[in-house]
Each structure stands twice: as C-alpha cells, then as structure tokens.
C-alpha cells in the first residue's frame, strides 16, 4: 500500500484562537505600510504574498488531492501572458483581463487533467513537467502571436477607479494591498476546500485511490476539479506577477524553476496544511533574497554596508541559490518530512506532554 510520510494530517474543526490570530495577522499586515514606507520592504512583502498564493494554489491539488504537479508554471505563465497580452494588445485593464486569464488556465487545466490523470504517481509528475515545457516552447516558437523570447513589457497600467477613489499603480503600495488581499483569499479558499466534502474526496483519493474508487468516487473527475481550482489561483498569481514585475518572457513564467518553486514552498512548509505554504514562503523568500541580493539586508538596516557576511555571501553564494534550495529540500525530506510546520507541531506536542506529565507526577510526589 502506498503510504505517504510527507503528508501530515490537518487538524479538523474550527478554532476560535486560529481565527483571531488570522484576523490579527491580516490587520497587522494591512496597517504595516502606514509605518514602514521603504519601497524595498513593501516589495519584499509583495514577493512574500505572491509565494503564499503560489503555495496555497499548489496545495489544493498537490496537498489535498495528492497529485504532485511539477508543471504549475503552465498555469502561472498562462495567467501572466493572457493578462499581459490583453493589456498590451487589446488595452484591457488587468483587473478585467485577469478573469479571462483565470478562465483560460481553468480550460487548459481541464484538458491537461483529462489526459494526464489517467496516469498515476511518477508518471503524472513527468507528464505535468512536459506539458509545461511544451507550452513554454510553443510560446517561444509562435512569435507572431506571443513575440517569442522578446517577451512583453507593461507600458502603462490604467488608473483603477473605485467610487471616488482613484488608485494609481505607480508605487509599491497598491501592489502590496492587492497581493495581501489575494493571499488572504487563497488562504480562505484553501480552508473551505479542506473543510468541505470536496476536501474529503480529495484526501480520500490521496490516501488510497483504489479504495476511493471502490466507494463510487470518480478519481479522474475529482482530480480534475482539484487541478482546476488550483489552476485558477495559480493564473491569478501569474497575472498579478506580470503586472507587478512589468516584464515577462517565456523563460521567466513558464520555466521549470517556477514549477519547482510551487512545490518547494509546500514541501518546506508542510504539504496539505493551511499554514504550511505560509511558513514555506516565509522560509524560502527571505532565504532566496538574501542569497541573491545580500545588499538588501543593508538597505533594511539589519547589517552595516561593510559587513563581512554580505561580502561573503556576495563573493561565494550569489549564484548558488539553487544549490542552497536543493540542500534545503534534502535536509527537510530527511529530517522533517512533514515540513517546518510538522517540526513545530511535534515540538509543541512534546512540550504539552511534558507539561501534562509533570502535572500528574507532582501531586504524587508530594503525597
């Protein structure tokens, strides 16, 4: 039987404490830009939220339904390209275009799903990789339509009018709030999926597809549903990314490293949980940023500009972030197969056990 130690069982039920913490965290992040105005900090905030969205999106199909897609760059890139091309070619505002992008990604996911979900395990993983690669190469090839390797550059994002307020997408601020909103939305969506009947069906398929099948669950259908939900959020992330970074080409949005990033966020944080992708993003984003751009720490005022650490990282590790990712994944799989979240839970339950056993033995000792 196929047992999966990588998956930790998500707690069921509704926790008031969890909700309070969740709302408090959102509130804190919402007022954060009023106190900290450094564009670099807000930029990092957006990158972090984007990683959370990516992780949560992958989690639906990879975490709950247990279908390890390593081809999510396909949906990310479709989201980015459709949003971008509608803006640049058809002058359609991104907040409208993104819906078309989501629809396109869902459509593609259903096509991909109905073909690749006939495959299981490693075969599905390989098929998902190749589909993303096919789309990347097709985008490079059909230059008249996609501009090939030239890519697209955002010329101007129109002003968004909501009632009397006008929002201009010049600074990092509006992007920060948009990314925060989208991240909150994906987290809530994940929570709903996890606690709905649908979530049970996904998990049943993940734990034992044949058993699920024997109960009348159509595995191919529900895997397709999971992939479509995941693709929708992934495309939203892609569309947002295109507008935020303002430039896309096939390699930056359809690349295999993008697909891998989706998986890494979840593996490092904890697959199949709500908090996992959040924690994974919180580990991965700062780490990759420090390795790629150690001067960022100087900008944040954490270290001084002549710090030995910055010089060391710049001299030795600036091109090694993929290497460090790799080592990190090996360490996590070997020592913490349930991700960072799993480690935290294990420590917490150990502390609790120790506390309760002390509570029990002490009165006995005095008696």
């Amino acid at each position: 039987m196929d047992r999966r130690p990588l998956l930790s069982r998500a707690p069921r039920g509704f926790s008031v404490l969890g909700l309070v913490l969740f709302v408090a965290a959102i509130a804190a992040l919402a007022v954060f830009p009023s106190f900290v105005k450094k564009p670099y900090v807000l930029h990092m905030g957006v990158v972090l939220f984007l990683a959370v969205i990516q992780g949560q999106a992958w989690n639906v199909v990879g975490g709950y339904a247990g279908q390890y897609s390593v081809g999510h760059a396909a949906f990310f890139g479709i989201g980015a390209y459709v949003t971008m091309m509608l803006l640049e070619v058809n002058k359609i505002a991104p907040w409208v275009g993104i819906w078309a992008a989501i629809a396109a990604a869902v459509l593609v996911s259903l096509v991909i799903g109905s073909i690749t979900f006939r495959l299981r395990g490693p075969y599905f993983v390989l098929a998902s990789i190749s589909v993303a690669e096919i789309i990347r190469l097709a985008t490079l090839h059909f230059k008249e339509f996609t501009r090939g390797a030239e890519g697209f550059l955002v010329s101007e994002i129109p002003t968004l009018k909501i009632g009397a307020t006008e929002i201009e997408f010049f600074t990092k601020r509006p992007f920060y709030f948009a990314a925060l909103g989208l991240a909150v939305l994906t987290i809530i969506a994940n929570w709903i999926v996890q606690h709905s009947k649908l979530g049970y069906y996904f998990q049943a398929i993940r734990e034992d597809q044949d058993a699920a099948h024997s109960l009348g669950i159509n595995p191919a259908f529900y895997k397709n549903v999971a992939l479509a939900i995941s693709a929708a959020f992934t495309a939203a992330a892609g569309g947002f990314y295109a507008m935020f970074v303002k430039f896309i080409d096939p390699n930056t949005v359809f690349g295999l490293d993008i697909s891998v990033q989706f998986v890494l966020i979840c593996i490092i944080g904890g697959i199949g949980t709500i908090l996992g992708p959040v924690i994974g993003a919180m580990v991965l984003v700062p780490l990759s940023e420090i390795l790629r751009n150690p001067k960022g720490l100087v900008q944040l005022g954490i270290v001084s500009s002549d710090s030995g650490f910055v010089r060391f990282v710049e001299a030795n590790l600036s091109n090694a972030h993929m290497l460090v990712y790799g080592i990190l994944v090996v360490v996590v799989i070997l020592f913490a197969p349930e991700g960072v979240l799993g480690v935290i839970r294990r420590l917490a339950s150990r502390v609790r056990r120790r506390a309760s056993s002390r509570g029990r033995t002490e009165p006995a000792a005095t008696a």
Binding site: M1, R9, A212
Partner: protein
Amino acid sequence: MLQIRKLNFAYGDLQVLWDVDLEVKQGEIVTVVGANGAGKSTILRNVSRLVRPASGSITFEGHELSHVPSHKVVEMGIVQVPEARRIFPEMTVTENLRMGSFVKATRKDRERNMERVFSLFPRLAERKSQLGGTMSGGEQQMLAIGRGLMGNPRVMLLDEPSLGLSPLLVRNIFEIIKEINRQGTTILLVEQNVYQSLRISHRAYVLETGRVVLSGPGAELLDNAHVKKAFLGI
C-alpha cells in the same frame, strides 16, 4: 441477481479467465475459492468494471454492466470491499465510514447505517476518533467492511477478507459476514481460506487457472474429494 456468462478476460496477451459462468441469487452467500493467481480477484474487478472483459456478459438485475463506468456500479448497489483492506489511514474511523456513503442516495441513511455498523462491530464504536492507519489488521478489516455497508449494498463483493488475520479473527470476520447476509445483503466472496468460507456459503465455485472446475452448495464442496485433496490437504 448477478449473472456472469462466458466471461473471458486477458491482461494483455495473458488470458486469465476462460468462459467463466457464475450466478449470485438474491440473499445468497456465494464464494469463489481457488489458489493464488487463479483469477478470483479478476472476476471481482470485472464486476466492478475496473477492467474490461475480452468477451462475455455481466448483468445485474437484468442490466448489462458493460457500458456502466466503474463509479456508477456503486450507485447501482454493487459495493466492493477491496483486497488488503485499503482503509484511509489518515482519516478517523467515523470519517472513513462517512466516506462510505459517498453515493448521494445513501446519504439520508447515513446515521442509521452508521449505527448498524457500530452494532455489528462494537469495536469500531469504541474507536470512533482513532486514525484508521493506527488500528490493527483485524480492526482495519472491520472498518473496510463497515465502510462498504455504509453504501447500502444490495450485493457486497468481498475480496479476501481473511487476508493477514489471525485464525481467531478470521472466524470472527466470517461470523460477521454471515450476520450481514442474514440481515439481507447478498454476498459474493472471494477467498483462499477454503474451509472457513465454504462453511458459511450457500453455494461456491472452485476456480483453477481461470476456469470454473467445480460448483455447488458450500457444504457439498467441503466433502468433495477433489477440494479436500487440492485445498484442505486431507
């Protein structure tokens, strides 16, 4: 109720079933016994439409099953309890049972069915919130059968329920199968434990390398010289 006629089936070039004829009448326990690789499980896989036969027909209450997709077979009332238990290890006993009433029509009976399962298996009632994967083999088998009952089966397909269980538990499981049948569920059982399964069956078929070589009432087969020699070592 369930009728299999001239069923031929092959995995690729390897023919596994040869002209198998088999009938299960309402209210019966019918057992297919045979050695490893005789094709017993393959018959069940054909009934639940997980594989497609090369030729032959399978009808359930007069309906031909050849165009029914596998997940719809369950809706018709044919519920398979898969081999090696296959419970959901990360779900609790209650959650596993709830998964058993996936088919819409069975959801209104969920509470009643769950009570029925708990009265058949008091052990499961004691362990409602335990994770399936942490239970013993016997308890997992009870859970798998219980989960099957949640789907209101008209006929229940049981694939080697005695696999990997201690002799005492095997006896226990067969008693419960008998009880489930007494309560009105028709049962098609596939077994290697010839003695125990023939004892509780109304009728049985002996399968050897994909062919039915003997059939008849369970008690009669127990006395059959060939069965005694081939399976019981007497």
